[in-house]
Symmetry: D2
Subunit: 123 residues, 4 copies
DNA sequence: TTTT
DNA sequence: TTTT
């Protein structure tokens, strides 16, 4: 406690949406599970002509360990979930050797909101 | 009210961090202001050897209209702010003609947390 | 814009839970609707003996205008909802003349999470 | 993992505000620290006559263990903090034997936002 | 590219 | 009871 922490950061994302596909799960070395899926959050609003419009945003969700296994076990395409996590941007080189950036949400909480799959877990 | 809305989406980001540079502001047609800056959120944690480590994440913040003007007026490199907004991913073609994606946070609330610049505004 | 706002406050509550009863709605003067219901948020955790335990917290939710009407129209006992709002504590005198305090959540966003009643509205 | 959890609850409060007084700390049996303070969140808005008005809400914050000790060590009357926690309502009997209810926020994250006291800790 |  |  003597050594005070001097950070003042907060990095939090909160989403409610539907899975675009079934989660993909991998086992990394050390037997660590990681799952991924894309999540659609849909917003409805009125445009300037008063017409109702829908806008969908797609997010890449990454889950580790227990959360990965739960996602794999209980979630499928179309499942409605609440996700809380952190934004993380990483870079990689694509097949043509171009540097690409991708922003992902690393989940630390998952609540399944469908009647048939109501499971909540914290990391 | 008769026409029920069937959306169940939530797309929310909450950040506390420091500006990496002064905000850049532009006036779009129709006299609409848009500002941008990058925001660093820093997290401190202990690695598996018990050593304290720092991890910084950079976010691109986009502000419209009033919020853009406030950012331009009161924020500078280093300012500490609280931001609430939405994730939005858009694509563009870079100079070499490669399709690129960028994920930005479109702010709808800004709280300035420095003693010298304490202004809060909602969109 | 010249007159800068000097507030630095944030007061936000985010809940996912089930209604304990059907909402009660009233029409105040000026034809303003106000609805109330209590919402249970349930948390599951392991106690120090490793036994799984459930803890339920009850919240009083207050909704105004459109949100009140939506709640009245679509929500019933047991409905699963996401609520975002503000904490507000007010005092009143009970029948015996004792001063009482009550803390309520004044909703400004409501997302209905049941399959049968999926409506989202912002204030 | 076989035994699925059926909870779908979320109970989260997020506040930015100033301490009304220095925190009070107690040591409970088992050497567990608990601290309390009240926090003011202030909101500025325009009333229907267009006049700027200020509304302050007071919250009771409860912190346990490490967070209690940090609050005691670094926070004083007037400190600006970000708090994340849970709502918890409990009852007690006052001196006259009346049953009273109090709603508190049990903090699980604290970020100190003053230049002079910038410490962040998770429970 | 920030902050402590 | 706070802060600007």
């Amino acid at each position: 406690m003597e050594n005070t922490n001097t950070m003042r950061g907060l990095n939090k994302v909160t989403l409610i949406g539907n899975l675009g596909k079934d989660p993909e799960i991998q086992q990394l070395e050390g037997n660590i599970a990681v799952a991924k899926f894309s999540l659609a959050t849909t917003e409805q609003f009125k445009d300037k002509n008063g017409q109702s419009k829908t806008e969908t945003e797609w997010h890449t969700i990454v889950l580790w360990r227990n959360l990965a296994e739960l996602a794999h076990k209980y979630l499928t395409k179309g499942s409605l979930v609440f996700i809380e996590g952190k934004l993380k941007t990483r870079s990689y080189d694509d097949k043509e050797g171009n540097k690409k950036y991708i922003t992902e949400i690393v989940a630390d909480q998952l609540i399944m909101l469908d009647k048939q799959s109501n499971v909540q877990v914290d990391e």
